[in-house]
Symmetry: C2
């Protein structure tokens, strides 16, 4: 009977593994699976910490990143910040102990949450070089900085301080870490400067200085002196919380009554809502939370899930915002000029497993972008660019799940990354981003997040499609215009000659053939003054006088100036409306205004809508959403645009032109 | 000065996070990111454990998997095995404590290694249902089984046993676990039966019974009574070990002398090699390992890396093997009949970070496979099918990195998953598979592994390409044959009539036009007897007599029988060689043999090679690798095949045929 000894033998091998032993053997899980990636990961962990430290203390971050080459495959990564510093007794723990930190239990949007990042970098450094990490930190009330060198004892997951000192440091407060590590330096894609640049774009309040191993120092200057609105910590939202987690909360709560527990430990639960939930669950609101048995807890959980509740407050989240998304996209383009920026969109916050989250999407299309490659997907989570594990990331998968053929991109079979001249930026921010691993390189596919991503991407796709349709429509009409304006005068000339009569005035004929209201725009930019001057012309190429309302959607938060003529309405959300006076046949109306303070690329096309007219007659503007049906009913009796006439074969431009060329 | 309070305030929030608290909040990292996946992950962890238990104890595994529906979104997953059982005092720890296990420090190929799998499932179950997990285990020397119900105390990461009993169990030994959990049942792709089927295929010694929530029980019968060769534990290999890890080993070793340390704690280091390494590092072999300073350790590390060492032994690894790869591919196909199985290949073991690993690849192509979709990639790691995170996995990425256009598949831009009628199976086995996360769904991209994958995939691609070229070549020659055999007799007939002479014998003319040696084969299969009868014909369609050697590569481990004529050599690696007697012009030679015990699909095309002849003359066989240059030099004087003549315009089949049709 061999198994007697085997079960006993196996039992002898059973033992607890410390978290640091685990990661020592699985360093790839922390993002150290190759020498190239190791350098970037260490930089990323340092910069994440520095940005979070600034956010914690309302300080505009000033961050120095330095990568020094020591040996052919050995480097030192230095990250230094002007954050609040770390008090002496915590320095060793923060850097020398895995799963130790201040942000794990906080429900606020932060880059770091796990207490694994910087201590993981320290551990990787010592595994590969045998050397300790040096840390210096100074808090405002101290005159000197505290400086240590430490090794992480991986058996015990405890810091082992090998040197300790106090040193003079010119900084008022801040932290500096120097990690020796094995690595390989790479300057291309997925490189440190690329990562820092992308980080600077979506964190425009930070100033980041980069000293590479060779070559010039690069400074990413801060683009604004305003701190992003401070994100607030919030308790969990009742929707999506797990039954077991709820039961654990009830075991530990200090509340004596169930209703109070709900009100105090969850967001969006007022005392009225708390009572309603208890009622729906058939439970006494005064019952002790600790006393609930499994069935009662289950009833409570069900009632919480089906309760109608407000979405979580948005002030725990810090989306990138439309302007910065556009700037981020522009930056990726470098000198390439695209044809079109789809208006970026930021969706309202939603909830998964009790955690609020928010999705943002931006698309840039055409122009100099390569038309024959898969589109590029730029991923961000909590304002951190994600450079690795694209294929395993929910953000990429959501893009691949959309049928982009419906929005004008090429995509074999209707799934997978589409081909075409486009870049898509996707940002997920949350009080808790569900990363697929501790390296925080990819987002897991939680159902609620996938739904929001899908909605956002499809909406962005529709915006792209609108542009492409408008473009195609305009191009077709323009072509017709040119033909008509070329041919008709020549026919008139020739006919007049033949019959020996005066050449007739053709304006009315041309308008009758065209039968459209044509809207075009001209945008001039003054670089010095950072001023856009926008002019819109509305040409009436129909046989009758026309009246219409014109609507524009301007970027939020921008006040248009020098508006001509006076608009009927200017709304806070950026919508501006003109009720134009009657435009006579073959006449035009003009509108102009000025936008100040934007980069050139931030306003390169107006979103133009019309109402009060049959929108089918209008080229260069879309029907105002919600207004369409009404318009059609109202104006059904009007003349059809010439496009239809052509299709019915009444006029054949080709033949006409040939005839003329025979002359 | 606000930062004084902030540094202090932050310090107050600093605390240690237990590993179970970490995973309670990051359950997606353990593979529980959706309700559907949760069920599969729990089953997978249970089955992994049961298979490993069988392997530990040399027991043919008999595993029961049951998924019971309790409520609309609540299930119980049961996994029961006939393994050695777990001794009483360890049961609670194994199931109720994260990072606790017996295999973490062992360097042998196992499914489980982390001590996170089954305890993670227990924790997910209680988080989502609030209920404990029930475990029953019996070791051979006990008459009764030990049964407990437990909850994992996530604050402390310790088991909390809520019920405990001894029960009678008919099994001699084994373990049974019943985990209640929230889930959603799915029967399609990435489903439990799919996973179990794939597992059964690559673990043919296991018998797996599956009871789904609804419908019939499914039994995956064992296909062999032979246990796979037992994998041995080995110490690390000196290549790829990190400096810091080496230093930690020297601190802890019980060896008093450096040379002894190297010899005892590394594989492939003999006492001679140990001395050589010490010499190369300029270190005294008798030096105490503990006494080495950083520079000395570094010198030792360098010397270890550059020492010429044997590859690690293969008996720590358990590859799937060519036969099972083919069977696995066949199984995925179901009723679809492919055109071609590229001979699967198993590469020799290599090393990354001191860990031996081995790569296997199989390809199936054409026939009924859908031609217009991305190819399917089947991923396996340590004989476990990987179903999720395909995009983030090194195995998929390696496939996408190959330029498959060179091997006859369609691939836009030469990277990304190619399109075409093909399935690629990739298996990585290692004493330590570097998973990207604790859910063990995807493999990280370690450089050495990527290199081996690339080599294996390209070799498989070449085999595919060889087949496609042979097929195209044969088709072209066959077409020519048919035309020549159709046209020449008609020309002869007609000419004879016109000039009123006898119709000439054309054999010599036809052979002169063809100028090839044609090899074809016929494979007959007797299903009952599981017998392949293979017949090869070598036709000499050249003007002169020909002598050649014919070589076949048969599957390893299969002895061909009834071989006719007697071969010159039969090698253990499956190579068999015939030295054929001179074949006269327009004559043929035949070869036949019998293979027994294979499934029909396991032998459907011979790998035929020739030597001793200008291989450019031969259709239906490849030049024997390494023999090519010699052949060409030797036979340069021979007549060129007719293909060239045609290209030079000497014969124009089309014109000839037209002329005849005019008759």
């Amino acid at each position: 009977m061999p198994s007697i000894s085997i079960a006993e033998e196996l039992a002898k091998k059973q033992r607890e593994i410390s978290i640091s032993e685990f990661f020592e053997r699985n360093k790839q899980i922390l993002g150290y699976d190759s020498a190239t990636k190791a350098l970037l990961t260490a930089v990323k962990e340092g910069v994440d910490n520095s940005l979070d430290a600034g956010a914690d203390a309302d300080i505009l971050p000033d961050i120095l990143v330095e990568v020094r080459k020591i040996d052919k495959d050995e480097f030192v990564v230095v990250v230094e910040d002007n954050g609040p510093g770390i008090v002496k007794k915590e320095v060793a723990n923060v850097f020398g102990r895995l799963l130790y930190g201040s942000r794990f239990f906080s429900r606020a949007q932060r880059r770091g949450q796990q207490g694994l990042g910087i201590s993981g970098a320290v551990m990787y450094g010592q595994i590969t070089t045998g050397k300790p990490t040096k840390i210096r930190s100074k808090v405002a009330e101290q005159d000197v900085a505290y400086e240590i060198e430490l090794i992480l004892d991986t058996k015990k997951n405890r810091p082992n301080v090998v040197e300790e000192d106090f040193v003079v440091w010119e900084r008022a407060h801040g932290t500096r870490v120097e990690i020796p590590l094995k690595g390989r330096y790479n300057a291309g894609k997925q490189s440190i400067p690329e990562y820092l640049k992308a980080t600077a774009i979506v964190n425009p309040h930070a100033r980041i200085t980069y000293r590479p191993p060779e070559g010039e120092e690069i400074v990413f200057e801060r683009a604004t002196e305003d701190l992003p609105p401070k994100t607030k910590e919030i308790p969990p939202h009742p929707h999506g919380i797990e039954l077991g987690t709820l039961m654990a909360m009830m075991k530990e709560t200090k509340s004596y009554k169930l209703a109070a527990f709900l009100e105090e430990e969850f967001v969006r639960v007022s005392s009225r809502v708390a009572k309603e939930i208890c009622d729906a669950a058939g439970l006494d609101p005064d019952k002790k939370p600790k006393s609930l048995v499994l069935e009662e807890a289950k009833a409570l959980h069900d009632a919480m899930q089906s309760a109608k509740l407000m979405s979580p407050p948005t002030d725990c989240l810090s989306p990138i915002g439309e302007r910065l998304i556009k700037r981020g996209l522009k930056n990726v383009l470098g000198n390439l000029r695209p044809e079109f920026y789809a208006p970026p969109l930021t969706r309202d916050p939603a909830v998964y497993s009790g955690n609020p989250f928010q999705v943002e999407v931006g698309i840039v299309y055409g122009g100099d972008l390569p038309p024959d490659q898969p589109i590029e997907v730029l991923r961000f989570a909590n304002r951190v660019p994600l450079l690795y594990q694209a294929g395993g990331c929910a953000l990429t998968q959501a893009v691949a799940n959309v049928d982009w053929r419906r929005y004008g991109l090429e995509q074999r079979g209707g799934s997978g990354l589409p081909f075409g001249p486009a870049i898509v930026l996707v940002h997920l921010c949350s009080t808790k981003v569900p990363y697929t691993s501790e390296s925080k390189e990819a987002v897991a596919t939680a159902d609620e997040i996938m739904t929001e991503l899908d909605l956002a991407l499809k909406e962005a796709g529709r915006r792209l499609k609108t542009h492409l349709t408008k473009k195609a429509h305009r191009a077709k009409t323009k072509e017709k215009f040119e033909i008509v304006q070329l041919i008709l005068p020549r026919i008139a000339d020739k006919s007049a000659k033949i019959v020996n009569k005066k050449v007739p005035v053709l304006d009315a004929t041309i308008t009758k053939i065209m039968g459209v209201v044509w809207v075009d725009e001209d945008i001039a930019y003054d670089k010095k003054a950072k001023r856009h001057t926008v002019t819109l012309n509305v040409h009436n190429f129909t046989a009758a006088g026309k009246k219409l309302n014109l609507h524009l959607l301007l970027p939020r938060g921008i006040q248009p100036k020098s508006i001509e003529p006076k608009p009927a309405e200017v709304r806070d959300d950026g919508k501006i409306t003109w009720e134009l006076k009657r435009i006579d046949s073959v006449a035009k109306a003009s509108i102009s205004f000025v936008l100040e303070g934007l980069d050139e690329a931030e306003y390169d096309e107006s979103d133009i809508y019309v109402s009060g007219i049959n929108p089918g007659l209008v080229i260069g503007a879309e029907p105002l959403p919600g207004d369409w049906e009404l318009n059609y009913a109202e104006f059904e009796g009007e003349e059809a645009p010439a496009a239809e006439a052509e299709e019915e074969g009444e006029i054949d431009y080709d033949e006409t032109e040939e005839a003329l060329d025979d002359e």
